[in-house]
Every structure is written in structure tokens, then in C-alpha cells.
């Protein structure tokens, strides 16, 4: 770049701003972000949005079709289920439970994974090799299996299924962190800090962590989509959230009994899981390609 450029701005965008520009340039990714924001809004402010109590049963309005069908009423936007509960309210609360618990468990798994992964990455020799191989074995065990075992030992419930999924997600965070820390430790800027006398903790917080955050965000979105599918799958199999709690998978399983009579009870909760996962995947993909473009430019 020339030294004196009258027309170009003097300010240089930070890496974060550049990523944001690249991200915004992709319309699909931006739409995904908006959809995700809507879901996030639902999760945060569910009590303000819903018209009815999600577990309030109403015997006078059983199996009312959604409002766009001929027999539907606008009182119940998405219709009602076999116990007269408002499906719209249940789905909004379901988004809150499913999305919220998934977000929480991804954050826990990330925290655990980064801690162990960093320690493993700074170690070397036999100890790290043992960690590495044990992790590979753990990564291979399906989530469903871990969940089944945990449910058998401590019983069903949303929290127990969350632990199972956390346990299944943590190894991949450990793995990525470990690989990243290991490759970063060989770079010269880390060596420079080291020569300045930085200890391991300072190295981590000042040199490695700032570079790792982007990778973590991308991995986090991936893990979030997996977590949502797993939470709802366990709820659906009756191994996770238990029926009165409005969890999207459990709502779907509830609707299964009347699937032929009232297909919207199966279609709508499934659709909202699908949309949520799709939005997260689109945002994750957009973020990744934005980062890729930023680095390659």
C-alpha cells in the first residue's frame, strides 16, 4: 500500500471487523444469523412471547388444527395438542429449553475441553500420547450410548441427558485445543514471549487464547448444532427431558400418539428443531468461510 493515499481511509479494520464484513457479504449467512437471533430472543423472553401457559391443559379445545387450516382458529396459532395445550406456546418454551440447555452444555464442554486440551498441548511425551489415545477411544463412543449408560446409572431427566452430551462433546474440544496449542507453541511469537520470561499461564492468556477464540467460536457453533439434535433426540426417546417439561423432542414424542389425527403435532416441533439446526449450521459455515477469506486475502 502506498504511503500517501488521499482517498483510502487511514483506519485499518481490526480482524474482527474484517471477519464481520466478510460474513455480512454472504446474504444466506446473514439470514441465518437473523433466524438464530429470533430463536435466541424466544429462548430469552419466552414468558413475554407466549399467549398461553405451555403446560395448561384445556379440555374444551382438544386437537384444534393450526390457524391456516379451515377448522383452525387464530386463538391457537399452531393449534392444540391431545390435551388441549397450545402448540405455539409449547414450541416457544421448547426452543427455550432445547436451545438454552444446548447452549449451556456447549459452554461447559468448551470450558472443560479448552482447559484439558491446553494442559495436554503444553505437555509432551508419554503423558500427552496417553491423553491423545484415550481421547480417540472416547470420541468413538456414540453419544446415545453414553446417554443410555448415564440414564441407567442415575435415572432420566434433562440435566442427566445434558451431562451425557457434555461428556460426548468435550473430547472434540480437547482435541482441537490440543492440536492448536501444540502448533502454536512452535511459533516464534510464543518463543518471543517466552524469552521475555512469560510463564505458562501468561503465555496462554496473552498469546495463545486470543488466537484461539475464532477457532473456538466456529467449533462451538458446530457443537451447538450437534447438541441440539442430541438433546432433542434423547428427549424424543424419553431418555432426556420428561413429558411435562416442554422440550422439542419430548413434544414431538407426545405428538406421535396422535400423528395420524393431528400431524401438525409432529410436523411443527420437528420443523422448529430443523430450522434451529439449519440456522446454526448456516451461521457456522458463514463464519468459517468468512475467516477463510480473511486469512487468504
Amino acid at each position: 500500500m502506498s504511503q500517501f493515499s488521499l482517498y483510502e481511509e487511514e483506519s485499518h479494520p481490526t480482524p474482527l471487523q474484517r471477519t464481520w464484513r466478510e460474513f455480512r457479504a454472504s446474504h444466506i449467512a446473514f439470514v441465518g444469523l437473523v433466524v438464530l437471533a429470533v430463536f435466541f430472543f424466544f429462548a430469552l423472553f419466552a414468558p413475554l412471547v407466549v399467549p398461553y401457559d405451555p403446560i395448561q391443559q384445556n379440555l374444551n379445545s382438544l386437537l384444534i388444527p393450526p390457524s391456516w387450516e379451515r377448522n383452525g382458529t387464530i386463538d391457537h396459532l399452531f393449534g392444540t395438542d391431545a390435551l388441549g395445550r397450545d402448540v405455539f406456546s409449547r414450541i416457544i418454551y421448547g426452543c427455550r429449553v432445547t436451545f438454552g440447555s444446548s447452549l449451556l452444555l456447549v459452554i461447559i464442554a468448551m470450558g472443560l475441553g479448552v482447559t484439558i486440551g491446553t494442559v495436554a498441548g503444553m505437555l509432551s511425551g508419554v503423558r500427552s500420547s496417553v491423553v491423545n489415545h484415550l481421547l480417540d477411544a472416547l470420541m468413538a463412543i456414540p453419544t446415545l450410548l453414553i446417554a443410555i449408560i448415564i440414564v441407567a446409572v442415575v435415572g432420566t431427566g434433562l440435566v442427566n441427558s445434558m451431562w451425557a452430551i457434555t461428556l460426548a462433546l468435550t473430547p472434540q474440544f480437547i482435541h482441537y485445543t490440543r492440536t492448536f496449542v501444540r502448533s502454536e507453541m512452535k511459533k516464534e511469537y510464543v518463543l518471543a514471549s517466552r524469552l521475555d520470561g512469560a510463564n505458562a499461564w501468561q503465555l496462554f492468556t496473552h498469546s495463545i487464547l486470543p488466537n484461539m477464540i475464532e477457532m473456538l467460536v466456529v467449533q462451538g457453533t458446530l457443537a451447538l448444532s450437534i447438541a441440539i439434535i442430541d438433546v432433542s433426540a434423547l428427549g424424543f426417546l424419553n431418555l432426556g427431558a420428561q413429558p411435562p417439561l416442554p422440550e422439542l423432542g419430548a413434544i414431538l414424542a407426545d405428538g406421535l400418539d396422535v400423528a395420524y389425527l393431528a400431524p401438525w403435532n409432529v410436523a411443527l416441533p420437528g420443523l422448529s428443531i430443523f430450522l434451529m439446526v439449519l440456522a446454526i449450521n448456516i451461521v457456522g459455515d458463514g463464519l468459517r468461510s468468512a475467516l477463510r477469506k480473511r486469512v487468504s486475502r
Partner: protein
């Protein structure tokens, strides 16, 4: 080479030991009587109980117990199911192949469809065709498998009535389970019209396989596309082009070979997802596989079955993963340590 092989064998044995230890400790962790969890037999009287405890060395330390547990595992004495009272080795022998069969066909579909489509999208990267394929794969990848299977059931079985709802084969055909793989068993079966039975079995296979493979195909397309794009921009491809090779030559000789290498370790990760999806789909289609069996076991609190089922599934997955890693190492010696990349 021998060193690598030895290392993998040690890794394999160690992992299996850890898994066996885990399944042994489950007998203690599960609620209820340890002896009953371990054997699956509820002792009727003190004498039988003492004899069983003697057989499993319950009075000795944990290490001795574990040693005898391992010995029992290796000799096929896996205990009995609480619910059916059948030997667990027999039940697993029938259930596991059904799952493997389902997963194999889904994987085959994913390879046969996913890799060519992914290559096509990768070669035409950032064109309309690529965007279409990419969006389609993104949508396929985002489906929760249980919902997809339900939609298939609602559409194909209930609305259009072109596929059966559940099971592996119509009850009209009597197929003795020899290998556990239904399509092979039909070939061995006597006294039935094999062609009709074969068609019927394929009809039954169609929906569950499709439900699982949609997700596998989508992730395979994404992996392949990414890999092809990465290889396409490498200097050696440009060098090949300057040497005047045709597009086909460049693709088959240079791009395809190098692009397929990183796909293999990713397939190893796919297997875990695949088996999980297969297990969920089985419950919806009443497919008599290990997933359905395990979930029935947890509903009925059949602890010995859970203990063995966990070991069997983990064994299968770990074996496949390590075999793929080993294979990858053999065909690609340049890779010191394989890297796992995200989908």
C-alpha cells in the same frame, strides 16, 4: 511398518481393556444387586447365590474379579438377560448384524452418491450448481434423524403406502438367522421364493436406509467438496495444467487421489454419527438391531443387557475407527499423525 502395526495393536488392546473395565464397573454402578447385574440371574436361594458368587469370585478383590470377568467375556459367557432370560451372547449375535447391515448400506449409499456429487461441486466451485448442491447438503445435514424418519413413515408408508412400516421382512417368509444379515440369510434359506423374499427385504430396507443416509450423504458431499477445492488450488495441479494435461487427466490422476486421502479419517468420525443415527432410526422402524435392543433394555431396566450392549457397540465402533486409522496410515505414510478436521 511392523512398529506401526504393533502400536495400533497395543492401542486397540488397551482401549478394549478400558472398555471392559468400564463395563465391569457398570455392574457396581447400576442400581440393584451386583451379582444379578453381573450374571443376569436372580438367585432363588442362598445356595445358588453362594455358588454364583463363587463362580464370579465376588469374595475376592476387584482385580481378581475383573480378571475372571475378562475370562468370562472371552469364553462367551456373557450372562443372561433379565427380561427374556436368553443368553446375551445369542441376543447380541442376532441384533448386532442387523445394525451393521443397515449402517453399511447407508455408508455405501453415502460413498456412491456423496463422493461424485462432492467432486462435481468442488470442481465447479462457486458456480450456481455448486451453490445448489451446497445448500442441499446443508439442509440434509441439518435434519434431526428421528424427525426425518417420521416424515418418511408419514409420507411413504401411511400416505402413499409404497413401503412397509416396520420390521426387516414380511412374516410370510421364514428366514432362519444364520449370519444375521438379512440379504445373505435369504440366499441360504430354503423353501422360499428367494426373488420375492429379496424384493420384500429391500422394500423393508428402503426407508430406514434412506433416513440414515440422507445425513451421511450430506456430510460426505461437504467433506469431499472442501477437500477437492483445497487440492484444486495446490501448485502441483497448476503444474499439471501447464504441462498440458487434459481436465480428465488432471482430475483422475492428481485431484481425485489427493482429495480422497483426507476424506478417510473423516469417515472414521462419520461412523460414530452413523451408528447413533442407525440406533435411533431402528427404534422408529422396529428394526431388530442393537439400538432398538438397547433402548428396550433401558426402558425395562435390563442391566446385564445394557452392560453387554454397551460393550458390543463400543467394541464395534472402536474396531472400525482403529482399522480405518490404520488403513489410512498404511496408504498415506506422509501423514505422521492423522489430523481430524471438522465436517
Amino acid at each position: 511398518m511392523i512398529r506401526i502395526l504393533l502400536r495400533y495393536i497395543i492401542l486397540f488392546v488397551l482401549t478394549l481393556l478400558v472398555l471392559a473395565g468400564l463395563s465391569f464397573s457398570l455392574a457396581y454402578l447400576f442400581p440393584g444387586d451386583v451379582l444379578a447385574n453381573l450374571t443376569g440371574i436372580t438367585a432363588q436361594n442362598e445356595m445358588q447365590r453362594a455358588a454364583l458368587a463363587q463362580q464370579f469370585h465376588l469374595d475376592s478383590g476387584y482385580i481378581v474379579q475383573f480378571y475372571h470377568y475378562l475370562k468370562n467375556l472371552l469364553t462367551g459367557n456373557w450372562g443372561y438377560s433379565f427380561i427374556s432370560g436368553m443368553p446375551l451372547s445369542e441376543e447380541v449375535r442376532l441384533a448386532l448384524p442387523a445394525t451393521i447391515e443397515l449402517a453399511t448400506y447407508a455408508m455405501l449409499l453415502a460413498i456412491v452418491i456423496g463422493i461424485p456429487v462432492g467432486c462435481y461441486a468442488g470442481l465447479r466451485s462457486y458456480t450456481a450448481a455448486d451453490y445448489t448442491i451446497n445448500s442441499a447438503s446443508m439442509i440434509g445435514y441439518s435434519f434431526p434423524v428421528f424427525w426425518l424418519a417420521l416424515l418418511f413413515i408419514l409420507m411413504f408408508s401411511l400416505e402413499w403406502n409404497i413401503a412397509p412400516l416396520s420390521g426387516r421382512i414380511s412374516l410370510l417368509f421364514e428366514v432362519p438367522p444364520k449370519t444375521g444379515f438379512i440379504l445373505i440369510d435369504i440366499l441360504f434359506a430354503d423353501n422360499i421364493n428367494r426373488l420375492l423374499a429379496f424384493r420384500d427385504a429391500l422394500h423393508h430396507l428402503m426407508l430406514p436406509t434412506l433416513a440414515i443416509s440422507v445425513i451421511s450423504i450430506a456430510s460426505m458431499v461437504r467433506i469431499t467438496r472442501r477437500s477437492v477445492i483445497e487440492v484444486k488450488n495446490k501448485p502441483f495441479v497448476a503444474a499439471a495444467r501447464t504441462r498440458g494435461l487434459s481436465q480428465g487427466q488432471i482430475f483422475y490422476r492428481h485431484i481425485l487421489r489427493n482429495a480422497l486421502l483426507p476424506i478417510l479419517p473423516l469417515m472414521a468420525i462419520q461412523i460414530t454419527t452413523l451408528i447413533t443415527n442407525a440406533m435411533i432410526v431402528e427404534t422408529l422402524f422396529s428394526w431388530p438391531g442393537i439400538g432398538n435392543w438397547l433402548i428396550q433394555a433401558i426402558y425395562q431396566r435390563d442391566y446385564p443387557a445394557l452392560r453387554i450392549g454397551m460393550l458390543a457397540v463400543a467394541f464395534m465402533v472402536v474396531t472400525l475407527t482403529i482399522l480405518i486409522d490404520l488403513f489410512n496410515r498404511v496408504i498415506d505414510p506422509s501423514r505422521e499423525k492423522y489430523e481430524r478436521v471438522a465436517v
